[in-house]
Amino acid sequence: MIELADVTFEYPDKTAAVKNLSLKIKAGEKIAILGGNGAGKSSLFLLLNGIHKTGSGKLYFKGQEVKYSKKDLLNLRKSTGIVFQDPETQIFSSSVYEEISFGLENLKYAENEIKARVDHALQLLEIADIKQKPTHLLSYGEKKKVSIAGILVMDPEILILDEPDACLDPVTVSNLIKLLDDLHQKGKTILMSTQDVNLAYSWAERIIVMKNGIILKDGLPSEIFSNLKVIKEASLELPVVYEIAVKLNIQSKFKQKPNIKKDDLIKYIKKNISP
């Protein structure tokens, strides 16, 4: 679906945020990107959206090289929606309704279609009650929800979320995850960066660990967390359930099954430990 081939990207001040990175994302995947502060997650996302131009290396979208022409970029951005890490940088309009409809207006949708989609997004994120408020008076979490709604309405094939769980209350996060799972069921490709290993473990089907602009490891969640060296190097920690399993040496019982899920572990623990 989208592919980076040996891409290096430097900021104007020569900080290499992404170094010789290759990454292939297939349609319908559900990927979490883990990595400490400054690992290059946000920079990677801006590369995938064609906002940053690859210094060396190439970006492919649906098998075609993205040449950074106006047409290519529009095509790419139409299909890849990115929710920025900081909603303050994303929110542009003064009213919530205007903000959410901004992308649709750019794509010149019909007025009633826009209204239907915005109303639907307002409902999904449960922010219909703040739709009349000016955006600069919203709380940070509310801004975050508005910025997510602004991307959801565009109905992109690939949804990229940069730490969507930061600053949201637990109920909202779990609602958001349900929403993302729904979208995934409908065939969307979802890419999410997060600092929450527990969330990454329970949600993702594939995890990419980054550090200093390179990919340390890319694989199934259980592959990632069974590699303690990588976890340590990337300044991460083990998911709570997984850690318990390691302490009880349970994960070794799953030798024949490479992809141990959170639910598997919980089931096993329940079966063997509860009286």
């Binding site: 920025f84 309009s93 003064s94 309704y97 205007e98 565009m154």
Partner: protein, 257 residues
């Protein structure tokens, strides 16, 4: 103070058709600027202020603060127009730093004219800014086939002003919370730091914002959601009557007042 445009969305006239408000502001502005009297701008100022305060229900304190802003510059300008060095037919004069500053009847008249004209025009513009969201102004200008480049520039400059104010506000709060303004010396230092960093930070914020716009398929042409408004026959009638009377008055009173 930063969020002038908040009122554009929440005033009592928010449901009035923007074209009506736009034409009232613009027609009155033209008549005020074109008039050669003191009387006409004074009427515009009075009526516009009354509409802003009573019809749109903008708080008096807020409006007064807004007026104070240009008044500061206006006084400097008016003062320099009113006074001349060593005028012949002066009314009064002041001796200051060895120079004789004189005020003549004609220069005083000119100064008062400029003053009322400026206040009248400012009240028209404030009426526009306080009751019509900028997006609606863009939509209207678009209908008049204004070049897209100009509109993009308008929106971006507008947004940038807010970003600068907001950044300033944030830096100030952050400095204050860390005792940046405890005494004169510290205030001086903090203020100089604020001024030097506000533009750099604003530029970075602006760049990030532009990235976010681009990622949502923005190509330089702003398309804003257009709310449905209804024209009101009464409003249109009142606007035309008001501006008609004002125009007639300025026509018949040319140079009289």
């Amino acid at each position: 103070m930063i969020y002038i445009d908040k009122y554009a969305y929440f005033n009592r006239l928010k449901d009035v058709h923007p074209v009506e408000k736009f034409s009232l502001a613009i027609f009155t502005l033209f008549i005020t600027v074109a008039s050669n009297s003191i009387f006409i701008p004074a009427i515009s100022f009075a009526i516009m202020s009354l509409i802003i305060l009573l019809a749109a229900r903008i708080p008096l304190f807020f409006y007064a603060k807004l007026l104070l802003l240009p008044l500061f510059f206006l006084f400097a300008g008016v003062l320099s127009v009113a006074t001349n060095l060593n005028d012949q037919d002066m009314i009064c004069s002041v001796l200051f730093t060895g120079h004789r500053f004189c005020v003549s009847a004609s220069s005083l008249n000119e100064a008062v004219k400029i003053f009322t004209k400026s206040m009248g025009s400012i009240s028209c513009l404030y009426f526009l800014v306080l009751t019509v969201p900028v997006t609606e102004i863009i939509n209207i200008l678009k209908k008049f086939k204004t070049p897209i480049l100009f509109l993009e520039l308008l929106v971006i400059v507008y947004k940038f002003i807010f970003i600068i104010f907001e950044t300033m506000d944030r830096i100030y709060i952050s400095q204050k919370s860390r005792m940046g303004y405890e005494n004169y010396k510290l205030s001086y230092k903090s203020l100089s730091k604020l001024i030097s960093s506000v533009f750099i930070i604003s530029l970075k914020r602006y760049e990030d914002l532009y990235h976010a716009l681009e990622s949502r398929c923005f190509t330089g042409d702003f398309h804003f959601y257009q709310r449905k408004y209804n024209f009101s026959k009464i409003n249109i009638f009142v606007i035309f009557m008001f501006d008609g009377i004002l125009l007639a008055m300025s026509f018949f009173s040319r140079g009289q007042f």
